[in-house]
Symmetry: C2
């Protein structure tokens, strides 16, 4: 049997990270390649207690079909928390529950983009989003992120030239993979340009709550007085990634269309875990729990940076994140990246090669991504030492 696949999925490759994740069963490898939250961030006992309450009092409704928009109390809680803590949500906005942030990204593209349209992304950007866009056969244009986000002038030049841009995809806070945060000034400029050209911004903010240093910067969505920003959030990094529960907040007209398309996609998100999230927020709130995750990641990040400061030569540059899960290391121009990655594998330390995150695959990169949420302090020390050894072995 010879299958002919649709144009949109023909060239689609599995995410290199998911593939790396699969191969990381060798316990002797120290992995900085994951995008996983720390298992210490899962409030297991509390979830178990609440799960038992649901089984005892509401089993029938938790195991039955639910409505596509999501479990109503959870939608209300999410909307209230977005409003109270982040000033997100105007009268024209509404909030729905999705099966992880990934589904929000996928459906946003499906709803807004025809094949051949353009999605503007940061360069580098989240591979899961890039592949979701690719699966709808859109063109990806990447704008370099620099230290504080993309250059608004470059964005404007692109929008002026390319009339098929239907979506601007940004992770303004603790960007994946670069670990940088877009400045307030740039956020305002980007928002003004999006408005001027009438192009929807998809603000992906899975890490926004995980700040361990510096001051919060207002989200794009909080400054959105027209409904041009679609905001995507997730419980993956604050309660559980495996449960696949996220949310989307945006102009009701847009959100209603996303609901209709979600209905054809998976009917609704696992209802039991929607109820579990809702009970958790109700009983314990998220703030205390998030605080403990922040402290953990802050400690790990500081440890990783201090080890790198010690082990890496000054020719190697890296970001110093104020939050999130990742930092981004750049080797000197001209480094043989294939050889470098080969040597890290031989040394039994795993990072994700930068090319994974390129919206436009023909561009060059000398960078790689490191994750500090998963490894222990001991693993960080040992793994950074191994990476330092590889770097030195290549005379970088």
């Amino acid at each position: 049997m010879n299958f002919e696949f649709s144009e949109k999925v023909k060239g689609l490759k599995p995410s290199a990270i998911r593939e790396i994740f699969k191969s990381l069963t060798d316990p002797s490898v120290i992995s900085f390649a994951a995008g996983n939250p720390s298992p210490l961030s899962f409030p297991v006992e509390k979830l178990q207690g609440l799960a038992n309450e649901i089984f005892e009092n509401e089993a029938a409704s938790s195991l039955q079909y639910g409505i596509t928009e999501g479990y109503y109390p959870l939608r209300e809680q999410v909307a209230k928390r977005l409003k109270d803590k982040f000033n997100i949500g105007k009268d024209f906005d509404s909030t729905i529950i999705v099966s992880g942030g990934q589904q929000g990204i996928d459906l946003a593209c499906k709803v807004l983009c025809n094949e051949g349209d353009t999605v503007v992304c940061e360069n580098p950007s989240f591979i899961g989003a890039l592949n979701a866009f690719r699966s709808y056969n859109v063109n990806l244009k990447g704008l370099d992120v620099g230290d504080d986000g993309i250059d608004p002038c470059e964005l404007e030049a692109l929008l002026k030239k390319d009339k098929r841009v239907k979506l601007i995809y940004l992770i303004p806070t603790f960007q994946n993979p670069a670990g940088i945060t877009t400045s307030l000034e740039k956020r305002k400029a980007i928002l003004a340009i999006a408005k001027k050209y009438g192009v929807v911004i998809l603000e992906d903010n899975p890490y926004g709550e995980l700040r361990f240093s510096g001051e919060d910067i207002p989200t794009l969505k909080s400054m959105d007085d027209e409904g041009i920003v679609l905001y995507c959030g997730s419980f993956s990094k604050v309660l559980s990634a495996g449960m696949r529960v996220g949310f989307v907040c945006g102009h009701s007209e847009l959100v209603q269309k996303i609901v209709v398309v979600k209905q054809t996609n998976d009917v609704h998100t696992n209802l039991f875990f929607q109820m579990l999230c809702s009970r958790f927020i109700d009983r314990y709130g998220l703030d205390e729990h998030v605080k403990s995750i922040r402290a953990l990641y802050g400690k790990n990040c500081a440890k990783m940076l201090s080890c790198m400061d010690e082990q890496f030569p000054s020719t190697v540059k890296y970001t110093r994140p104020d939050g999130g899960l990742f930092l981004w290391v750049t080797l000197p121009e001209g480094t043989d990246m294939k050889e470098f990655i080969k040597r890290t594998i031989d040394a039994k330390v795993a990072v994700v090669p930068g090319e994974t995150f390129l919206p436009e695959p023909d561009k060059k990169t000398y960078s790689f991504r490191m994750n500090y949420s998963m490894p222990t302090e001991e693993q960080i020390e040992k793994g950074v030492g191994l990476l330092g050894g590889v770097i030195k072995s290549m005379n970088i």
Copy 2:
């Protein structure tokens, strides 16, 4: 803000059933409109016990990211059960876990169809599938199902004429909404035609296990020696609908592409519930549990049929299903269906109008769907009485 939606989703409407489901909060309405499994079919205590074991012994992995293909032991169990019980799965096949059968249908279409391609369906057919296909902007062609499935000659004529048919979507067993089962003879003929024209069949079989009378008929997939049939199954009707766990079995080449696209869609299916399904099968097996559901639905269906035999005039025709959740009632040609549905609502009894299930909306139908898995025997008696009253009031 004025949003411009993609061509593929522009005309998409929410499923009438999901909308009816939302409005069914009035407890005085007797509903035969649902597609829900009976809450009595959820093995609550067993699931609770197993959930506690997972929380106690494997919490960290159950709440963490998993691989897109699905929880490995569950994949193995599903593949083994398909093989042992239904003779499904050749060497070239592989099995993955999806977020309910709905996601399997959605991804099959995404992977195989370009916009403007044709999907052949039964007329009437499952609205969730029809809307999933519509969301990829394909053309739907409906072949009337009759009493024992579509006419293979009509299928061949269509495939001969329309070179853009990329998928044949069938629910051969206890069809939704018609409650009919495609005969073995027709199954063989359909399979031969699909092979001849090289068009993939998507065999949707969410109800196949729920036979309460007659003998099992081999699935299309069990007779598939080339990998042309993609088989879609679900735990929704046998363990829990709200958990959103289903599976797809098909030629590995096709399944691998579906995995890549699922990765961009929701990364993976809720892992905790995948593990819960796996533990359930491991500890209790599905057979005993399924047997009890069959008995319940058989009793309900018999009750509904006997009430209808009593209450409905002979001008009203209906199917007599051997399994599944639905039966299909057809009023005499020319009946004012708008008026009929209006009167059922006034009488506080809910059915789903047949037009909901039309692949081609300009066709005519005088039918409606009735569900017998949800109502109690008392509700069946009272509701069928009310429907009989409406029918009489219209001099049908």
